[in-house]
């Protein structure tokens, strides 16, 4: 072949590739993880201590939760709980296979639960005594003690079901070089801190009915990139370098709204922003002062001015989707400046000429701790102004997010503005249990009555309904003592490029997960 001919052949094939390119590219989408999901070291659900959203595409779970935290069947098509809470029977879906062709059946579940022994995630199944195979597609969990939280654990990312045989064979490489589950995508490549490439599982027909699409996914390839710097991630979306940000930082929401080909969809969040009051530090040893500070916070004003009205105000310590957040109205903490002022007067703090209250010659001055991130700083400045309005003078101190936990352990904090991400009522135990004073119990709350209620909620419940009732009472009691003032419930804003991707306007999921991404389709 002469040089001229080779050149012509080459240019023809390049031209063909260019004309074919849109069709090929349409089957791919590039997504960016939320910045707090960057750096996940493994996709091994049993051993991992953190997991990102891609793991929900590789591994399916037995049960799924909808936006209202109600449990729905997924790999388990139905279940029954014994009245005394001492056993559970799960009926499994038939015809489900793993990425390597192995069948998913009762034996899979029996092999899987013991894998948790000795891992940091062992507590998820600590209440399970044994797993018995009833028949090919029925399995029975025999319990050591009732665990009404079992369904919550089964729905968590850490209980995605891995293929037991390859799990045993691959050892520590499972989840790193390959990860075999029953999910709608298979792992093609994974470079820690860089990107994960997934390829569609063509045989997939058992998607959760919470998504419209229960068959194979619409995109053939998904690339999840890890970008720690939020402004870089936003610029990638803006310039078309990526198609979707799984969590658009609050600062960039207005910027995304400005772009004509970008769109935002909100998913209910699992985050709650709140103010903590240290109950063993003056002046907050006085419950009247604590209550006054809590009632001085104008949640609506914060929602409208700092978060542009996106999200919800918070008036309990739990996200409102949880049933345990449904406390009696008298326990809800809402803005009431008149009451706040009256309480401070009652406590003996008299308004001074400079707008700061005084008692025994001392001004009402408190330290106000927060993280150095820009959103937290701005929020804390507003909290400072709102406290000032009732005569409490707050001095803001900011700490690096990696360092602030250690500062809390010192117990020197008076007021702190912070947030948590969790969607189970046991967060009340985590932050107000007397065995975790300093950190995570920043408020240093140590109350005998609360401890009794907490024990009942954590270990004394036999059924889900009983657990909800116990936790509601515990939650109400904690709220009545004002170690905390709830502020705001953010939503997760998913930003995507409308010229590349279509998405439904609402999602029936508690967070961005497989249920959300299964309904994502390429623009034709």
């Amino acid at each position: 072949m002469t040089l001229g001919k080779s050149l012509m052949a080459a240019s023809v094939s390049i031209a063909a590739m260019i004309t074919m390119a849109p069709a090929v590219f349409a089957q791919e989408a590039t997504l960016v993880f939320a910045s707090n999901e960057v750096g996940q070291p493994t996709y091994n659900p049993v051993k991992a201590t953190s997991l990102n959203v891609a793991s929900s595409l590789i591994f399916d779970r037995l049960v799924a939760q909808d936006a209202n935290r109600v449990y729905h069947p997924h790999l388990a098509k139905s279940w029954e709980e014994a009245e005394d809470g001492m056993s559970w029977i799960f009926h499994l879906k038939q015809g489900v296979t793993f990425h390597n062709g192995a069948a998913f059946n009762a034996q899979t579940v029996a092999d899987w639960i013991p894998m948790f022994d000795g891992t940091d995630n062992a507590y998820l199944v600590a209440a399970v005594e044994a797993v018995e195979v009833v028949d090919e597609h029925t399995v029975k969990f025999v319990m050591k003690h009732p665990d009404p939280n079992l369904l919550y654990n089964l729905a968590s990312a850490f209980m995605g079901v891995p293929e037991p045989k390859s799990f045993a064979e691959m050892g520590d490489n499972f989840g790193v070089t390959d990860a075999i589950g029953t999910g709608p995508y298979k792992m093609q490549s994974f470079a820690i801190g860089e990107q994960t490439v997934l390829v569609r599982n063509e045989d997939y027909t058992w998607g959760s009915p919470l998504a419209e699409n229960t068959g194979p996914a619409k995109f053939e390839y998904l690339t999840f990139r890890e970008i720690a710097e939020e402004s870089t991630a936003f610029l990638e979306l803006k310039t078309g370098g990526v198609d979707m940000l799984l969590s658009v930082p609050a600062d960039f929401v207005p910027e995304v709204e400005k772009e004509s080909d970008l769109k935002l969809v909100s998913v209910p969040g699992r985050e709650l922003v709140y103010m903590v009051l240290n109950v063993v530090k003056e002046p907050f040893t006085d419950i009247k002062v604590r209550k006054a500070a809590a009632l001085a916070i104008n949640q609506r004003e914060i929602l409208d001015n700092i978060y542009s009205g996106i999200g919800q105000v918070a008036d309990t310590f739990l996200i409102s989707a949880l049933p345990e957040a449904n406390v009696a109205d008298e326990y809800r903490i809402a803005y009431n400046p008149d009451k706040a002022n009256a309480l401070l007067d009652e406590a003996g703090w008299e308004m001074g000429a400079d707008g700061v209250r005084m008692k025994d010659g001392k001004p009402l001055e408190v330290s106000l701790w927060t993280q150095s991130d820009s959103v937290f700083r701005r929020l804390t400045e507003v909290v400072q102004a709102q406290l000032k309005a009732v005569g409490i003078n707050g001095q803001i101190a900011t700490f690096d997010s990696a360092m602030i936990r250690d500062q809390y352990k010192s117990g020197d904090q008076q007021v702190a503005v912070r947030s948590y991400i969790w969607d189970n009522a046991d967060i009340v135990d985590w932050f107000f249990g007397a065995d975790r004073l300093g950190y995570p119990n920043i408020s240093m709350f140590d109350d005998p009555k609360a401890e009794d209620l907490r024990a009942a909620a954590m270990t004394g419940s036999k059924s889900s309904a009983e657990r909800i009732a116990n936790f509601t009472v515990y939650h109400e009691y904690v709220l009545s003592q004002f170690p905390v003032a709830p502020i705001y419930q953010p939503v997760i804003s998913v930003g995507y490029n409308t010229s590349r991707i279509t998405l439904p306007d609402t999602f029936n999921a508690p967070a961005v997960s497989a249920t959300v991404l299964m309904d994502m389709a390429p623009v034709e």
Binding site: T49, G193, E194, E229, G241, R405, Y420, N424
Partner: protein
């Protein structure tokens, strides 16, 4: 030359030990520990003790240091606590990206620095010299983090010429190399200019002029050669600086590499990874200095005699 080399390498051992002590103690003195990152909400309070003991973090610091150092001496950098992989694997994945960026940036700043410095020296005190030196001074004062974002804004967002981030192909290397390289270019240009002006005042040049050699040939063949000795020193010192200086640039451009790994591990207090990253950066500075000294000694016999 061999004796010089051996003496110079032996000198690295005490420096290495001192650096390792400093790195270890600083990391462990920073408030916070990796356990908080491993404890999930819902885990029992006793889980903390179990995890602390598992990673030997309950042992006295001196014992922990000895375990780490003896591992490092045998080529074992340990296992990451939060990332749960051999640290060597994490480094092996990150280092090639950092080296590519560092070497390209070094080549960029050497080439443009020497060229600009030479042009400035040849046109000493004329307008062209003043323009080059002003631009170069500005270039050396801009922080890499800010310059990176500026370049992204201009070349990626407005002009759409290069990708915003990542490390997929060569085009994604251009802006990071520019960001890291521009500061170095300024430094090299300034040193080249001063060194050429100094070398230009040597006596032997008079002889060359008297012999009738063309001035440009004198400048490029004789003056530049003498001037390059301090430039080489500066460049070798830059090797360590470039790897270290690329830390923030890697984060801005979401490029994998030592910097990204270091920042992530610092936030998680993943001690073994942070220690290994800092040790490698320190080694890069040490080896860069060593390389500079050796090259200098090879170029100039007086340096060999001095040690």
């Amino acid at each position: 030359m061999l004796g010089y080399l051996i003496r110079r390498v032996l000198l690295l051992i005490p420096v290495f030990l001192a650096v390792s002590v400093v790195i270890f103690s600083i990391i462990h003195m920073i408030p916070g520990d990796p356990i908080d990152n491993l404890l999930k909400i819902g885990a029992g309070p006793d889980q903390r003790e179990i995890i602390t003991a598992r990673y030997g973090l309950d042992k006295p610091l001196v014992v922990q240091y000895w375990i780490w150092l003896s591992g490092v001496m045998q080529g074992d950098l340990g296992t990451a606590i939060v990332a749960r992989r051999p640290v060597a694997d994490l480094i092996a994945q990150a280092l090639p990206h950092s080296l590519t960026l560092g070497l390209c940036a070094l080549a960029f700043s050497s080439f443009f620095g020497i060229v600009l410095g030479t042009i400035a020296a040849l046109n000493r005190d004329r307008w062209i010299d003043q323009i080059i030196m002003t631009v170069v001074l500005m270039g050396s004062t801009i922080p890499g983090f800010w310059l990176g974002l500026l370049l992204i804004l201009v070349f990626s967002v407005w002009l759409g010429m290069f990708p915003v981030s990542g490390a997929r192909d060569l085009s994604s290397l251009v802006l990071p190399v520019l960001t890291v390289g521009l500061g170095g270019t300024a430094l090299v240009a300034r040193v080249t200019r001063v060194a050429m002006i100094e070398a230009g005042q040597r006596d032997f040049l008079m002889l060359l002029h008297a012999k009738g050699m063309r001035p440009l040939r004198i400048q490029l063949r004789h003056v530049l050669r003498h001037a390059l000795i301090p430039v080489v020193t500066i460049l070798s010192l830059r090797i360590g600086w470039i790897l270290g200086g690329a830390v923030t640039v890697e984060v801005v451009f979401a490029r994998p590499g030592l910097g990204t790994l270091l920042i992530k591990s610092l936030n998680q207090h993943d001690y073994p990874v942070v220690q290994a990253c800092l040790l490698i950066l320190a080694m890069a500075v040490m080896l860069g200095t060593l390389a500079g000294d050796i090259i200098q000694a090879a170029m100039d016999p007086r340096v060999r005699a001095a040690l």
